[in-house]
Structures are given as C-alpha cells and as structure tokens.
Amino acid sequence: MNKLIEAWEMNAEVQWVIFIILCILVFSSVAWNTWNFLKPGKLVNELLVRTRSWWIMCACFIVTTLAHPLVTHIGLAFLSFALLREMYPLLKLDQRERNVVMLCYAVIPVQYTLAYLGMTTLFLAFIPVFMFVVIPFMLVIRGETQGIVRSIGLMPYSLVAWVYGMSHLALLFHLPEIPGFTAGPQGLLLYLIFLVGINDVLQFGWGKTIGQRAVLPKVSPNKTWEGLIGGVLSVTLIAVALRFLTPLEAWEAAFTGFCVAVAGFMGDAIASGIKRDLGIKNSGNAIPGHGGYLDRLDGFSAAAAPFFHLIYFFGVTAAG
C-alpha cells in the first residue's frame, strides 16, 4: 500500500503541465461561451462541442496518467481494445473471422503485460514478428480461403497500427534512469498527450483562420497546407517550451515536437483515408461531437512509437 502511494506522488513538473492544461480549457470555455452569448453561430457551436469533449478527454487522460502505473497500463490496453472493437465491424471482419478476432483481442493483454514486466525485447518482437505469422496461420487453419488475402492483410495491420503503436506509451515506464531527469514517465506521457492534442487543435485553428489550399483534396478537404505548416511550427515551439517534462535539450525537443506533429498529421490522414473508403463520417460515437475512438486516437497511435524511440535515442543512447 505504501508503495502505491509513493508511486502516485506528483512531481512539480507534472503539476505545472496540468495547471497549463486547465488554464487552456478554462480560457477556451469562457471565450467560446462569451462569443456564443454575443453572436451565436455554427463555428462557435462546433468549438463549444469540441471544448466540452476535450474536457472529458483531458479528465480521463490526466486521471489515468497520474494513477498507479498499473492503472495507466490497463487504461492504455482498454484504448487499444476499444480501437480494435470499433474498427473490426467497419472493416467487415466480424463474420467468418470472429474466432481469430478473439485471438487479436487476446494479444492486447499479453502485449501490455510484457510492457508492465519490462520485457522490452520480447515486447518489441511479439506483434510484428510472432503474431505476424501466427494470425495468418490461424486464419488459414479454419480451412476457408475465400477472402483470406484481405483478412491476412488487415488483421496484422490493425494490431500494429492500434495495439503495437499505443503500447509504446506503456514502455515509457521502463526507460533506464536518466541523470538530471525528474519529471518521470508521467511527465513524458503528459508531454506527448499535450503535443498531439494541441497539434490537433492548432491544425484545426490555423486551417479555419488562414487555410486556403488543401493538402489532400481527395481524401480530406479540411486539411490545408496553412493548417499543417502553422500547426507543425507552433507545436515545435510548444515542445521546446515544455521540455522541462523531458530529458531533452532545446534543439532535441524541437526535433521531437516536429516529428510528433508530422506523425500526428500522418495518422490523421491515414484514418481519413480509411474512413473515406468505408464511406463513413466518423469511426463511431464514443464521445458525442468528437466521433469514435479512432477519430481521437489516430494521432496518438501514430506518434507514440516515434516519440518513444526519439526519447530513448536522445535521452539514453546519445547521452551515453
């Protein structure tokens, strides 16, 4: 029990970033409500709905991050599970493949247990090496080969994209001791969550205010070059400003912020492409007004693994 309380203790850096997040949320709530009071409209209504769901998501993220690492692992595992559960029926993998889908679900607790136990090499190989062979084989031994090329392609993809990527966030708890770094894994986790979240918001904001030319007109007309460049540049600056949460130097933090912003955009664009092919607006309706789990977590699941490897490289490998 004492150990649990010790692990729960919050450090000054984490307190600061939570204070900043709350300030942003309170400020935007007050601002949009005032705007809505003075001049109601469609845009301000969308902003209000978005802010309300950010309140919900921030509350969930902060509570899960600050709780005992075990709770954080379970929370992340649940997000991976929710992503798969949401996408499989949309990808039409719910009929003949349902028993193999159960196996894909069973991969999630194994992967996060490996992360919790700190078995890093097995963790890194489990899905892209072992399950990459086991799942197609399980599809084959059903004895039914109709449509099997499609499911052999989709099932390992879904595991790598939405379980393997997300699970790197749990691995942040097993970084080796870095001298002079006090914010801890909770700090790193909040740093990534903050960057990806603010990247979403800023790309939306820059796109709405000065956006003209679409990046991917056929996939997602809402994403503009102005929004992308403005978002990436501002996230790079924010990453430098918040580097007290990380063991990084200023230029390293800038590079990490840049990579996270670009990866977040890539994840977003991939999800848009998938949704457009399936002919749906949102992947689900988990948070009213904000769509399903994939709509919210596309950026995180794409940025998590690059973020972990950048932190590991700059904080551990390059620091010697």
Binding site: E86, P89, S272, I280, K281, N282, G284, N285
Partner: protein, 238 residues
C-alpha cells in the same frame, strides 16, 4: 379459455423479492457494466423521459443478447415486473433452459403453435399488463436475418389496442447480432447501438393492423436514421 389456468400462469409470473434483487444486480449493475465496457454498446436515449408504470417494449430481434440488453434500460424499480416474452418450444426445451429463463431473465414462455396450448398467449399477456407488469416483445417472432427488419406479428397490435393507456416504447438494436449471431455460442465484442425511441400511444379504437404497422414503421425509421447518421455525403469530408 379456462380462467383458472390463466390465474395459475399469473401466479407463476409473480416474482419473489429475492429474485428482484438478483435481477437488479444482474442487469442494472453487472450486465450494464459488461455491455458498456466489454461489448461497447452505445445507448441513444429518446427525447422523452421513460414513462412510469407498465409499458410494452418492442424491439427488432437478431441475437440472444437482445432481451438481456433491453433489461438494462428498464428502470430499477420495475425490473422484476418486466418480462421478456419468449418461445416455449425453444426456451422450454430443457429443464435448465426454462429454469434460467424464468429465474435469470424473468421471461414468460408462450407457445407458438395453436395445437398444444391450453392458454391463449394474448389472454395471458393481457392479464399480466392489467396487473401492472411490463412486457418486452420481439414482434418479428424470431431472430431472422441479421440487419433485416422482418414483418411484425400482430400480437403487439392486439395488446396495445386492449390497453390504450399503456405506452409502447420502440427500441432499435443495431449490431448486437455481430457479438452473438444465431447459431454461435462464443460472444465476441464488436460494439453495437441501442436506440430508445419516444413512447408511442394509440387512442382507444385504433385497429390492430394500424398499431402493428405504426410500430413497424417507428422501428424502421429509427433504423434508417441511425444508418444515415454516419454515412458520408458525397461532398462532405471525413
């Protein structure tokens, strides 16, 4: 119709208070949690509040999970008074099945064929409504083809026309057939949606066929509304 046998059946439907707490725990606590976190069922509530007193719930039927999920939207204080109407020939086939249907699902079993029954099911359900019980009906009569709304049997029309004061709540269940399709025993979580519609009430004297048709169109329109909610219009962007 011998009145004595209806009394006997009604006596069987009376719920001891121990089972009331069991049902409350099973559906309002345990199953609600499982359905929300593991299966991932999304609830879409109607605009109107749930009416007090006896109601008739009607829903489309594609899976064994349907009745159990409907029990989670019943108000806690009426959970022991709410009975799913199930087929005697399927659920009464073995002693264990009929025992668990009665004690764990709080169901009433009715006979589907006209030959081997001594009680007319409509008379029985009518007497139950009169005594203040609520009913869960699946007017399609069987689990049918997944995702296709079959024609309704006229039972709901008969009951609603005899009780113009009892509201009919249409419920549309989408996607539960993926979690547990007909003929499977393994539940695999794939999410789903439960849309609770606004209560329908029919003035006294509405014909049985009109009520049945209205109930069908209410559920069909909820189905198409849910489908359109997330379809990409050609010009919009994801």
């Amino acid at each position: 119709m011998p009145a004595g046998s209806i009394d006997a059946e009604l006596f069987n439907a009376r719920v001891p208070s121990g089972r009331r707490w069991l049902l409350w725990f099973l559906y309002k606590v345990l199953w609600r949690t499982v359905v929300g976190l593991v299966i991932g069922l999304r609830y879409v509530w109607g605009k109107m509040p749930h009416p007090d007193g006896p109601v008739i719930y009607i829903a489309n039927h594609n899976s064994h999970l349907d009745a159990m999920s409907l029990m989670t939207i019943v108000p806690s204080h009426r959970i022991h008074l709410t009975h799913s109407v199930a087929a005697q020939d399927f659920f009464g086939r073995s002693g264990f099945r009929s025992w668990s249907m009665k004690n764990l699902v709080n169901a009433v079993l009715i006979s589907r064929s006209k030959e081997d029954r001594d009680v007319d099911p409509i008379e029985l359900l009518d007497a139950m409504l009169r005594q203040g019980h609520s009913l869960i009906l699946f007017p399609e009569g069987t689990r049918g083809v997944p995702g296709v709304l079959a024609d309704f049997k006229r039972g709901v029309g008969h009951l609603a026309s005899r009780h113009p004061d009892i509201p009919v709540i249409p419920v549309y269940l989408d996607g539960l057939y993926r979690n547990l399709p007909k003929g499977r025993t393994l539940i695999v979580p794939f999410g789903g949606t439960l849309v609770m519609g606004d209560p329908l009430s029919f003035p006294a004297g509405t014909s049985v066929d009109a009520i049945t048709a209205k109930a069908h169109s209410a559920i069909a329109s909820m189905a198409s509304e849910l489908k359109n909610e997330n379809t990409l219009p050609p010009t919009d962007s994801p």
